[in-house]
């Protein structure tokens, strides 16, 4: 960041805010406060409610996961998405479901839900049941659904990005090598700030830009790679700026504001569909919980957590919808009740679902089986 910009941003952050100032809350908060106010997507009532429903489902589903984990119903590493819902909903719900492609990480439950994978299938997978979207073979970090164009949750850092690039390559190949003029599927690859220091990230930015592939690189910058502060891990913390080195459009956006994310995603999708290539979209966001349910979360300051909690993306959307007269508080409450019922139903379904058949242990190794 240039000195000039730093000064400009510092000036913006002095705007009086509620409780914890961004300075006490740390550099990530300072950056968020310093963002140039974004253009927000305009939405119809139906769209606004759809977004609210999707984000609420993500949040309540994850809360239920924590409960089930502590009750011993699911095992292994479980990474929850609380706080980042505006990114999943803002990007995926701006795309065409079952047409565009989506690629996630180990923190993949909510991406899967936004893609339209039924909550029953996701919860079943977390319980390791035969009805899970990966038939109980994948688990929390390996959710897949061909039907919903979810390329998968990839547990190792960065390895999903090339796979997403391959899906984007297929779109271009179908259009230009197979002559399918209507091949316009766009791929969204999600990953975090920690991933932006690994080679595959840079290799794929290069190839995507080189071949003008229809892909969105969506960075969920929540500042913390487990316990590694983003600012201690990277020489240029403003990830969106790295796009310029590849001749690609880069944008930073308030990742706690679903309408701002949606607007940025819509611009990127339009470019991708038009054949103008990829976009690097850095969403400034925050995870409200530890890295995983096994993380004691001892490093992050209370002031930082408080700062971001006050910018809860679901509460922000609720306020905006009611302010714009698109929904009443009662209507939103009713949606929450519906979602609670859906989440309760998916737990009930998953609890009752059968275990995978032991006689099928080696099934799915080969394409013919």
């Amino acid at each position: 960041m240039t000195q000039e910009l730093t000064a400009a941003r510092a000036a913006q952050t002095s705007i009086p805010g509620p409780a914890a100032s961004s300075e006490e809350a740390g550099s990530h908060a300072v950056r968020l406060e310093g963002l140039v106010p974004a253009e927000r997507a305009s939405v119809s009532r139906d769209e606004g409610l759809m977004l609210y429903r999707d984000m609420t489902l993500g949040r309540r589903f994850e809360d239920k996961c924590a409960e089930m984990y502590y009750r011993g119903k699911m095992f292994g590493f479980v990474h929850l998405y609380n706080g980042q819902e505006a990114v999943s909903t803002g990007v995926i719900r701006a795309m065409r479901l079952q047409h565009d492609w989506f690629c996630s990480t180990y923190r993949d439950h909510v991406h899967a839900l936004s893609c339209g994978v039924p909550a029953r299938e996701v919860m079943s997978e977390l319980f390791g049941k035969a009805t899970g979207c990966s038939k109980g073979r994948g688990g929390s970090m390996h959710l897949f659904s061909r039907e919903h164009h979810l390329l998968g949750g990839y547990a190792f850092i960065g390895e999903g990005i090339p796979v997403a690039l391959g899906a984007a390559f297929t779109s271009r190949y179908k259009r230009d090598a197979l002559g399918q003029a209507d091949s316009d599927a766009v791929t969204a690859a999600f990953f975090g700030d920690g991933t932006c220091n690994i080679g595959q990230f840079y290799e794929c930015l290069n190839m995507a830009s080189l071949w003008k592939l229809p892909i969105l690189f969506v960075v969920e910058n929540n500042r913390w790679a487990i316990g590694m502060d983003h600012n201690r891990a990277t020489s240029e913390p403003e990830i969106w700026r790295k796009a310029a080195g590849f001749g690609m459009v880069g944008e930073e956006v308030d990742g706690m504001d679903v309408l701002a994310v949606r607007a940025a995603a819509q611009r990127a999708i339009e470019r991708a569909r038009a054949g103008d290539g990829p976009t690097l979209l850095e969403c400034l966001t925050y995870r409200f919980r530890g890295h995983s349910l096994a993380d004691p979360d001892e490093l992050r300051e209370a002031a930082e957590k408080e700062f971001w909690a006050k910018r809860d993306p679901i509460k922000q959307l609720a306020l905006r919808l009611t302010d714009m007269g698109l929904a009443t508080a009662e209507e939103l409450k009713a949606i929450e009740k519906e979602i609670d019922a859906e989440v309760a139903d998916c737990v009930e379904f998953a609890l009752a679902a059968p275990e995978p058949d032991g006689s099928e242990l080696t099934r799915y190794i080969w394409a013919e089986d």
């Binding site: 979207c133 061909r146 390895e159 796979v163 390559f169 190949y173 080679g199 595959q200 190794i365």
Partner: protein, 327 residues
């Protein structure tokens, strides 16, 4: 029948399959304009265009991962490892995604991809360019591994690998590209999972693959004169092994020697002999022998290099000993 060099046999296979199915494509370093470092894709870029024969930047892990994503969404990519050793850099994509993803996804996706290229010890290429990755990749679930050794099987196996719906690691050998022989005309396929009985015999079963097949053939010539009747089997499929053919031979000869170019520790022969011990123990009249490379990085010096890998005279000595009951 037409006299064909091995690299051209591979090229014919790829060309015919690309003509047959427009979803078949090639990606890798210098596969396009340059025609491949061993000319296996010569002129294909001109014929099929730059998307179907894609020159990639030098980024093995990422372009291999890209092939995974392309295969998951409907294409049938062939990835060239300019040298198979470079694919150490793509180990994660080959193992976690190419190999395991179909299973981990509960059958959601299939990965019809071929990863091909030159492996093995060449002539003084130095340690890094002289690797035998078939052993390193052997434990990865969900991938088939084949090694070709003649122009005839190179073409038939390449076509089979491209048509297979599973990921196939396809090992060529850097010293066999200029091997020449008459191959059948037109469209033919060799089974990916079948060993090739190169020579029938009754005294000793000799199991080998890739370039060592030719060392074994030299040894067999001499052994013939010494009165040892060798049954020489080219494994072709390194994963899974064709245990039916192998066991049938051992039931006949009761003696077995494995000749391989990979290192002894954790090598192909290690797994093979374990399986033979499990399946054929009662048929054996002597302990199985294993002739492998030394457990060292391949040295540059030509004499040292020759000492690192098995030579025909060592194969002769081992077979003579086996027949005479000396080992």
């Amino acid at each position: 029948m037409a006299e064909t060099l091995l690299f051209n046999a591979l090229r014919e296979a790829i060309d015919e399959e690309m003509a047959r199915d427009p979803h078949v494509c090639v990606m890798g370093e210098d596969v396009g304009h340059y025609g491949g470092s061993y000319k296996v894709t010569k002129d294909l870029c001109e014929k099929y265009g730059e998307l179907r024969v894609l020159d990639t930047p030098i980024a093995e892990n990422s372009f291999t991962g890209m092939a995974v994503g392309a295969a998951m969404t409907g294409l049938r990519p062939i990835v060239e490892g300019m040298n198979m050793g470079f694919l150490l850099l793509a180990f994660n994509q080959i193992s976690n995604n190419m190999g395991m993803l179909r299973y981990t996804s509960g059958g959601n996706y299939t990965i019809p991809a071929v990863v091909r290229g030159p492996g093995g010890v060449g002539r003084q290429l130095g340690a890094e360019h002289s690797q035998r990755l078939e052993a390193y990749f052997h434990a990865v679930p969900g991938i088939k591994i084949v090694a070709v050794s003649t122009p005839t099987n190179a073409k038939g196996l390449m076509k089979a690998a491209i048509r297979d719906n599973n990921p196939v690691l396809f090992f060529e050998h850097v010293l066999l590209y200029n091997l020449s022989e008459d191959i059948p005309e037109g469209d033919y396929i060799c089974a990916l999972d079948q060993a090739e009985v190169v020579r029938e015999g009754k005294d000793v079963t000799m199991l080998t693959y890739s370039r060592m097949r030719h060392h074994c053939l030299k040894a067999v010539e001499q052994l013939e004169q010494e009165g040892v009747d060798v049954e020489l089997i080219d494994l072709i499929s390194l994963k899974p092994f064709d245990m039916e053919t192998i066991a049938r031979s051992i039931r006949k000869t009761h003696k077995v020697v494995v000749v391989e170019e990979c290192m002894k520790t954790g090598g192909i022969g290690a797994e093979l002999i374990a399986l033979i011990t499990e399946h054929c123990f009662d048929d054996l009249d002597a302990r199985p022998l294993r002739l492998s490379s030394q457990d060292i990085p391949t040295p540059y010096n030509g004499n040292l290099e020759n000492l690192t890998i098995i030579q025909p005279h060592q194969i002769v000595a081992a077979a003579l000993d086996l027949k005479a009951g000396r080992r």
